[in-house]
Subunit: 110 residues, 2 copies
DNA sequence: AATGATAGTTACTTAATGTAACCTAGTTTA
DNA sequence: TAAACTAGGTTACATTAAGTAACTATCATT
């Protein structure tokens, strides 16, 4: 068999989603807008430093919006754009695959 | 909005697919079995070192098979298992998303 | 003035990748 | 006989990405 030539757009999409934490951040935002600390808390091993980088990348890609509410203290919410919401079917398929093919993790003893 | 609790299996699947090169290797194998050098050549920036690591991980996960043909010189082919083939819909969705939402790259001048 | 909240950033450490040279085994070529 | 070739990797070293903990800025409350 021959290797397959890849579409540059497909390649770019895979590269984006392959960046550590990207898919998790998008998944969390599928539930609705979240603030920085909320995302941080929902992903215990994600550091604020990397979260900050990813949010900037995703905003630059047009996948998320950053909305500043000038209250005191200031509140900033991150939410998905239409382009970001459109990633949902991908995550859905990952969910389908994982529930069909990955073993149920051990449950703690009663 | 509240952060969403994640299923451990979903989490594991995302972690796997987020590892650099994993999705590309699976994509290439969707076209049929390939040898080490073929995968290496189809993914120009993937080093033999990391390819070797990823193939071992994917085999350990039950996503690919390693088949040794005792010819001379020996030929070794990597192919997807049923579990690996079942990843196709995920990559398909990534393809759909990328062709709908990512810009067509500039084409070189005529 | 000190304390607290939100939303980050910075300096430093550790882990993951990339690069290039090398290894092993069998085979053909000089 | 030995040098060279092929396939399928591995090893040592350099670079980049990610993790950790402390710190910054702004405004408000105690």
């Amino acid at each position: 068999m021959e290797p397959t030539q890849m579409c540059p757009r497909f390649e770019r999409a895979v590269e984006m989603l392959s960046k550590r934490w990207t898919s998790f951040i998008v998944f969390q935002l599928l539930g609705g807008p979240l603030r920085f600390v909320q995302i941080e808390q929902s992903l215990p091993n994600l550091s604020g430093k990397v979260l900050s980088e990813r949010l900037k990348e995703l905003e630059a890609e047009g996948i998320i919006n950053r909305h500043v509410y000038p209250e005191t203290p200031v509140r900033i919410e991150y939410s998905l754009t239409a382009k970001g919401l459109a990633l949902a079917p991908i995550l859905k398929e990952i969910g389908n695959w994982s529930s069909e093919w990955l073993p149920v993790p051990c449950t703690p003893e009663a």
